[in-house]
């Protein structure tokens, strides 16, 4: 399985990017875009996980994941993003 295609993803950069969160690229029309340029339409995508923080081993064992960004307990009343 070759994942090098994700190595140097270029996000659409446009004049609006500096105006707001530079990490979140924007399309020319200003709407949010988290996809590389030339991403074909009408296909489903899962964003590639990027390395960021990890829990220490005790927290990870308790949370059931090493990665805070994947710690998504299902809590019906708060929706799946409620953080305990």
């Amino acid at each position: 399985m070759d994942f090098s295609m994700f190595e140097n993803m270029r996000f659409s950069n446009d004049y609006q990017r500096s105006a707001n969160n530079s990490m979140t690229p924007r399309t020319v029309s200003g709407s949010m875009s988290r996809f590389p340029e030339e991403t074909p339409l009408a296909m489903a995508y899962v964003p590639m996980q990027q390395w960021s923080e990890v829990y220490d081993e005790a927290e990870a064992f308790h949370a059931g994941t090493l990665f805070p960004e994947l710690n998504l307990p299902f809590e019906p009343e708060e929706g799946c993003y409620g953080q305990r």
């Binding site: 994942f3 390395w51 081993e57 064992f61 994941t65 090493l66």
Partner: protein, 83 residues
């Protein structure tokens, strides 16, 4: 370290390694993840060694004795206390 605590520590290291292995499967060039893998592999190996030294084999593949099969020194699972 007391037996249960050491056992839990080994479990936690094992879980962290399982997790990072999954990440490395899709991020084979990530140095952060690779460093993490080697660090926790080593930590787990050391913890298991200590467990063997203090409490005997953790698994049947960790019997050190050349005189006697020590794996069966411990109570059988059904003989364990009920806790």
């Amino acid at each position: 370290m007391d037996r249960d605590k050491l056992f839990r520590t080994i479990q936690m290291y094992g879980f962290a390694i399982d997790e990072i292995v999954l990440y490395l499967d899709t991020h084979p060039n990530c140095q952060h993840a690779l460093n993490y893998y080697h660090k926790y592999n080593e930590l787990k190996r050391e913890a298991v060694e200590e467990y063997n030294r203090l409490y005997g084999p953790l698994t049947s593949r960790q019997v050190k004795s050349r005189e006697k099969w020590t794996w069966t020194n411990e109570p059988w699972p059904w003989e364990r206390s009920a806790d």
